[in-house]
């Protein structure tokens, strides 16, 4: 198996793991983390696509850079909302969370 | 835009503009509202007279623009439009006067009169619609404009009646919509044409045509209260009396009946319908409705409900006349469109007067009312005798032509239906007249409200007297060139190209 394929599969796997976490976990913080794992998965797929050629294709790299910016902002927003949310919604043991 | 187009537009605007303005009139500004109401009604009547003269001369008025490529919004005025529009213009004026007297002391008048005008606007649109698509637009608008009138009082029973009214009429509207879309796909967007425009499709799309016709009859059947689609009508009696008068005599049921006339005469054409074996079905349905409505009317003890079932029965005379598929029957049906309107509005006005003046709602409370309210009762008598079809009343003229028409096309059994219905009419109207004129009055009326110089408020008294007079004249002077009958003959001449 080539290196690129391994990276591709890992990326896909990360995406699925994140998705699982997003659906199964009740705690909002964990859901946010799960989304970040999914982000990483997609970025990995993009980077491995870039690595197929020599020199590496710049377009996916540009996409990942932009994507990271977006992901950071989204995470920041989610965390702010988490902080200002009434506390019972963020409690890990609360069935509503 | 041509002069004719402008005229049609003005006629529509003459009730739309006052309607919209009235919504903005403050509740207590009674005079301004009355001025708006009356000027709209009078202007409209004058414009309709101009239109009538033009059409009589053989002019053709039209206005059209495309809503979608290949789909036109068409207004036009042919002889048939005039019949309906003249009826609604005259009766609107009268009902407006009546409604002002009836409602001026109750809440939400601006809302009421606003929708009242919109209702007439849509009725006018129905009369002037030049193709099925345009007809559909105004037909559905009529539902919307009448709903607030039906539920005007806002009480639990009226809201329930309103809900039922909507379910029936919107359901019918859906059937009609499918029909119109289907015909549009088959034949394109064509204007109403005397003798129909679908004849060329005979033999190619028979099944589709049959399905679409049935759907559209269902759609029109709801408003024209064909059994078994009549259920909303007696319920809608919770509305104020002017609404019942307008709804039952002019707007809603007539729109349905008028739709059937257009559909049979100007879209399918009787020839095609005979070929498709569909006319007899509708004829039977109309006959069943005539008998069933009369039977149910007989069982009612509430005056307005009895009149409502009487309407169910009487409106189907129009359908009957059209589906007889002969020129004489057609004349009878069309003349009845006007005759029934005049007679039934008189009856509802009178019923409203009894309720408003003395609190009388039930038939057993009518004893001796002829002595307390002789003028109103006289008007009621004219209407009732007309409904029975006593010569030389207007109702007799219609029934006579219908019977002749049945003979002409060899459907003798229809005469049986007419006779049976007339007998039933007698059975539910004559006892009422007897009670009112000959039985001694009760000690005290249920709720005597108005003490005026006249037996009731003048603006309540004059409208029924005027419409009763018209109903009487329509029968007595049926031979005159301005009578409804003469106009029905003119339409028939043009339609059958005799």
């Amino acid at each position: 198996m080539s290196t690129v394929a391994i990276y591709l599969l890992t990326g896909g796997l990360l995406f699925v793991i994140g998705l699982h976490g997003l659906i199964v976990r009740r705690s909002l913080l964990r859901k946010i983390l799960a989304l970040n794992i999914m982000d990483s998965g997609v970025f990995m797929v993009l980077l491995s696509l870039a690595a197929r050629s020599d020199p590496p294709d710049p377009v996916p790299q540009a996409m990942v850079l932009t994507g990271i910016v977006v992901a950071v902002s989204a995470t920041a927003l989610a965390l702010v909302l988490l902080v200002i949310a009434p506390s019972r919604y963020t409690d890990e043991h609360d069935p509503n969370a | 835009m041509t002069f004719g187009g402008v005229l049609l537009l003005l006629i529509l605007l003459s009730s739309l503009v006052p309607g919209v303005l009235i919504f903005f009139v403050a509740e207590q500004r009674r005079r301004l509202r009355t001025v708006l109401n009356m000027s709209g009604a009078v202007i409209k009547l004058l414009l309709v007279v101009v239109l009538l003269e033009g059409v009589r001369e053989g002019l053709f008025f039209q206005l059209s623009f495309n809503v979608l490529p290949g789909l036109a919004f068409v207004l036009h005025a042919d002889a048939l439009s005039i019949l309906f529009i003249a009826l609604s213009a005259v009766l609107w004026l009268v009902t407006t006067i009546y409604a002002i007297g009836y409602l001026e002391n109750s809440p939400n008048r601006s809302r009421f009169f606003g929708f009242f005008s919109l209702c007439v606007f849509t009725t006018t649109g129905i009369a002037l619609a030049g193709n099925l698509f345009t007809f559909l637009i105004f037909y559905e608008l009529l539902t919307l404009a009448t709903y607030p009138l039906v539920v005007h009082r806002g009480t639990a029973p009226s809201l329930r009646a309103g809900r039922q009214y909507l379910i029936y009429t919107l359901g019918g509207g859906v059937a009609l919509l499918i029909g119109v879309v289907g015909l549009n796909l088959l034949a394109g967007s064509q204007p109403f044409t005397p003798g129909g425009y679908l004849g060329v499709l005979a033999g190619q799309h028979d099944t589709e045509l049959k399905i679409l016709f049935v759907l559209m009859i269902l759609g029109f059947g709801v408003k024209s209260a064909l059994v078994p689609l009549h259920g909303w009508l007696p319920q809608a009696m919770v509305a104020p009396a002017p609404v019942s008068a307008l709804l039952h005599a002019v707007a809603v049921v007539k729109a349905g009946a008028f739709g059937i006339v257009r559909l049979v005469q100007d879209v399918f054409g009787t020839g095609l319908l005979i070929y498709l074996d569909l006319l007899l079905v509708v004829l039977l349905l109309a006959s069943v409705t005539i008998v069933y409505g009369s039977l149910r009317a007989l069982m009612q003890t509430d005056i307005k409900r009895r009149l409502a079932f009487s309407t169910v029965s009487q409106v189907s005379y129009i359908t009957l006349g059209v589906t007889l598929a002969g020129p004489i029957g057609f004349i009878g049906g069309l003349a009845h469109l006007v005759h029934q309107g005049l007679m039934k509005i008189t009856l509802f006005f009178c019923a409203g007067n009894f309720a408003e003046t003395l609190g009388v709602h039930r038939i057993d409370q009518l004893n001796g009312i002829g002595r307390r309210m002789p003028w109103t009762m006289a008007a009621f008598t004219v209407g009732a005798l007309g409904m029975i079809g006593l010569p030389p009343m207007a109702g007799f003229i219609s029934k006579w032509y219908l019977a002749q028409g049945a003979l002409e096309v060899g459907q003798q059994w229809v005469i049986g239906v007419l006779i049976l219905s007339s007998l039933l009419n007698m059975m539910y109207f004559l006892p009422v007249l007897y009670r009112a004129w000959f039985k001694p009055p009760m000690e005290q009326w249920p709720q005597e409200r108005l003490k005026t110089r006249w037996e009731t408020h003048l603006s309540l008294l004059l409208p029924p007297l005027f419409t009763a007079l018209l109903a009487l004249l329509a029968g007595l002077l049926a031979g005159m060139s301005t009578s409804p009958l003469a106009w029905a003959e003119l339409i028939t001449l043009r339609n059958y190209a005799l």
């Binding site: 994507g67 927003l77 | 809440p107 919307l144 859906v174």
Partner: protein, 475 residues
């Protein structure tokens, strides 16, 4: 000077609200003025773009002179122009409404920059020509919309978080699909891709991921669960924007991709699946709207049902293409915007929006009731209205291709809609005590709702224009 000659009207459609947004951040005192002037100028830019399209046809603009593959390209087509118009027509009344709606200073401070930014990003989405740029716009729309929902205060935070998570998930699915497409074809430009796309399993996977992501954002049943709390919980102008405009953006994008990129892969089975989901949405949304205890919930569930109607329309894209769906979206945008604004007025006046007690507020605000009624007429699909026009087109397409079941679902949906619309309207007819107003509803708030409702009706007369623009300059 011939205005249609100016080459960059389409760019102004994005730049004007973006600049206004920045200005609103810099000079918070001018928030309202900047908002209103920005809105009117954006409307002007859309008008200019229309002139340009009518005179010169579809247009591609390379921003900063950078072409594909690295540069950002914009394209102006007939359907994109219709979406720009939809956004502008709905946004102007909402902007006016918001002037009087937000009373506290902190809300005003936050609302104006965010709202103008949202408008800019929506316009950007409609004009974008490549997949990655589309992802960015999608993500931006979601983020801004979430913050706007959170403006309603602590009660809405939970709905906002749910909204955010679902939308981020949708965006990520979309991004992964973009990556797969780039991996397979080495390009992102939609037009260039459309010429290359083959029906391979990988492309199929990308189609599936993209569709799921976009359907999640469009809240098509059963992916709608995030919508009612977010749309019902947000401040009224924000609810109007979300229900009228934001959900349409992702639906439009899905349609665009299906009709261009994946036209060879979109099978009858797939559209049928969407149609079935659509029917599910109509039934579920209508029943919930009939049972809703609060007015804004009712309107939000109505959105769920109406989005199902778009799903139904998608089953007909093989015979009817863009026009009916676009007409429906525009009509629904105007109607739903008007409804949420009117509902906001009732809520402001009564201090609550509980259906059981709302009738006093309805009686006190007849203009808003009329706005609600006009919008309702269009939603039910009664003539003459934009909703009726769309229904007519869809019904024609369904009957013409012999799909009776779809025709029945189309008209049945109208009847269900009527039931819950009149559930509200009949409350306006009940007699009772006069309202003791809790909050002030200004005439501007009433009339901007009314204007939107009227627009939904007037659209019924714009059929020829829409047909011309969409049919002559398709994607």
């Amino acid at each position: 000077m011939d205005l249609s000659l100016h080459p960059h009207w389409a760019v102004w459609c994005i730049v004007v609200p973006l600049l206004a947004s920045g200005l609103a951040v810099l000079v918070p005192r001018w928030g309202k003025t900047v908002g209103v002037v920005g809105a009117l100028l954006t409307l002007l830019a859309v008008g200019g773009a229309t002139l340009h399209l009518l005179a010169h046809g579809p247009q591609r603009i390379e921003i900063g002179g950078w072409g594909a593959p690295l540069g950002i390209q914009l394209q102006l087509t007939g359907p994109a122009l219709m979406m720009l118009w939809m956004t502008a027509l709905v946004s102007v009344p909402i902007t006016l409404y918001a002037c009087d709606y937000f009373v506290t200073r902190s809300q005003q401070l936050r609302f104006w920059p965010l709202w103008l930014l949202l408008w800019a990003t929506m316009n950007m989405l409609y004009l974008s020509a490549d997949l990655f740029n589309l992802y960015i716009t999608l993500e931006l729309i979601s983020l801004v919309a979430v913050v706007l929902v959170a403006l309603a205060g602590p009660k809405a935070i939970r709905a906002a978080i749910r909204y955010l998570l679902m939308n981020l998930l949708g965006s990520l699915c979309f991004l992964l699909a973009v990556a797969l497409m780039y991996g397979a074809y080495g390009m992102l430009d939609i037009k260039m891709l459309a010429e290359q796309v083959e029906a391979t399993p990988l492309t199929g996977l990308a189609l599936a991921l993209m569709s799921i992501g976009l359907l999640l954002k469009s809240a098509l049943f059963p992916l709608h669960i995030w919508l009612p709390p977010a749309h019902a919980g947000a401040p009224a102008p924000v609810s109007a924007v979300l229900s009228a405009l934001v959900v349409k953006a992702s639906f439009y994008l899905m349609l665009l991709l299906w009709l261009t990129l994946y036209s060879s892969l979109v099978t009858h089975g797939l559209t049928t699946l969407i149609g079935v989901l659509g029917i599910g949405a109509i039934l579920w949304g209508s029943v919930q709207a009939l049972r809703a205890a609060r007015l804004k919930q009712l309107v939000a569930y109505s959105t769920v049902a109406q989005l199902g109607y778009i799903g139904l329309a998608i089953t007909l894209i093989d015979v009817a293409a863009w026009q009916p769906v676009l007409t429906f979206m525009i009509a629904h945008a105007c109607a739903k915007g008007a409804m949420f604004l009117a509902a906001g007025n009732f809520q402001r006046a009564a201090g609550h929006d509980r259906m059981a007690l709302i009738s006093t507020a309805l009686r006190a605000l007849p203009v808003s009731v009329f706005a609600f009624a006009l919008a309702g007429v269009s939603l039910i699909g009664l003539p003459p209205s934009g909703g009726f026009l769309a229904k007519w087109l869809l019904l024609s397409a369904a009957l013409d291709s012999g799909r009776w079941l779809i025709a029945l679902a189309l008209v049945g949906s109208g009847l269900l809609t009527a039931l819950y619309i009149f559930r509200v309207l009949e409350r306006a007819m009940r007699p009772g005590a006069n309202l003791q107003p809790v909050g002030r509803v200004s005439p501007l708030m009433e009339w901007s709702a009314f204007g939107l409702g009227l627009l939904a009706i007037l659209l019924g007369f714009a059929g020829v224009g829409i047909t011309q623009i969409v049919a002559e300059w398709p994607v």
